[in-house]
């Protein structure tokens, strides 16, 4: 016993170093694995509140750009509305407006108060949390495409796992056919992401649009993501499909949070099916 105490006293400095280093490595591993509770995140009161204050100053200088985006989205939505009106005037159409009966997705607005895009694993912070009715695993989109998925959450802030992260795997499909694939990021540039798991029967062309697939329970189907920039076809497989994002990930202001109201139903059903097999 005495020898153990002597040993600890002698190597006190080194043991302290070892202990703290292991603690740091544990935090790092936690950060690298998806879906574990994380101790170190910026959704806490101090750093969240700090970024909130900083952002309210920065926001002022970006108003012009933000207004332009809003006008563009308004124009797009107005065009959609005017298309709808033509259908209403024709008597032969009977439109069943499903949104009157059930609503599948609910959108709410939030602001990105801390944006990262230069690291290998990028995480954003937004200024809404459980007090505003958010939970983890909600999709985050804006008018130009998808941003990421909410990961950790505190009462007033939340962190978002950006699509520019090695843990991010988003189910996507081609706009002109129903071939599904997965969107990942190789960490090189923030303007392009990579598409994998595309079956070789699919016909790709440079400039094809990629949209979200309906397979996941997080994002609604059909949100535009980007266009195919380049690809290789080697050994009967598609290799290195680069997707140029519509979104400029380096400048993200206001975003929309998508809440799938039927998510539990879908998840339960899928789980039951797999357990019954």
């Amino acid at each position: 016993m005495q020898q153990i105490i002597y040993f600890i006293r002698k190597f006190r400095y080194f043991l302290l170093f070892l202990f703290l280093e292991i603690l740091a490595i544990i935090f790092t591993i936690q950060q690298h694995s998806y879906h574990t509770s994380k101790f170190v995140n910026s959704a806490n009161f101090i750093s969240g509140g700090f970024y909130d204050k900083m952002n309210s100053i920065n926001e002022f200088f970006l108003l012009k750009n933000e207004n332009k985006l809003l006008i563009e989205e308004n124009t797009r939505l107005k065009n959609l509305l005017s298309k709808k009106k033509i259908k209403y005037t024709q008597d032969s159409y009977k439109i069943i407006d499903s949104t009157n009966y059930f609503q599948k997705y609910e959108y709410s607005v939030a602001k990105v108060i801390n944006n990262n895009y230069t690291k290998r694993n990028n995480i954003l912070t937004i200024n809404k949390g459980t007090n505003q009715g958010l939970t983890s695993d909600l999709g985050v989109v804006n008018s130009l495409g998808i941003i990421g998925v909410i990961e950790t959450i505190s009462s007033n802030y939340a962190t978002v796992l950006s699509i520019l992260n090695s843990n991010s795997k988003i189910n996507v499909r081609l706009k002109n056919s129903d071939h599904f694939g997965t969107l990942i990021w190789d960490g090189k540039t923030h303007t392009t992401t990579q598409l994998i798991d595309i079956p070789r029967q699919a016909i790709l062309k440079i400039g094809d649009t990629i949209i979200t697939g309906g397979k996941s329970a997080i994002f609604p189907e059909g949100i535009p993501i980007g266009i195919i920039k380049s690809f290789k076809f080697e050994r009967n497989q598609y290799q290195q499909i680069n997707v140029l994002l519509f979104n400029d990930m380096s400048s993200i202001g206001y975003v929309q949070i998508v809440k799938n109201l039927q998510k539990n139903e879908q998840k339960n059903l899928e789980q039951n099916t797999t357990t019954n097999e």
Binding site: F17, L23, A24, N41, K119, R120
Partner: protein, 168 residues
Amino acid sequence: MNNLILTNSLRFIGLVLLQVIVLNHIDLFGYLNPLVYITWIFLFPIKKDKNLFLIASFLLGLSIDFFSDSGGINAAATLFIAFVRLPILKAVLRKSDFDYSQFKLRSISFDKIFLYIATLTILHHFIVFSLGYFSFSDFTTIIFNTFFTSIFTVLISIFGILLFVKKK
């Protein structure tokens, strides 16, 4: 003594704020962000009681991690350079033992300051990027990032030390 605690605490807070508000958003050439907060490690007075220094440098790294959502990457790297600081300083000065209390960074010659800062910076950045990428296949990217970010960090921290730390 009190003055020393005050200076180092203020420097701690000042460097964390500088890093979080300004330097994390520089993105030179699209991706380079200097990690100048480690200047705190270079400037911390060398004393016999090293345990406090280890804990403080762990907290320094951890506070950067809290702001940049990077787990314990900065904490691990900062703790490591705090641990190897004294052996490296001894190697740079080619002395086995020197007067701890009298030591001031500005009192040694410039090329030795440069060597000391550059070694610690490269070690720190290598750990940060290795843990950040966490895979062997990205080895070239890690080396590339370490090299260029180190140049940036060393330049800024040496300028900062020359400008703001008084020469005795």
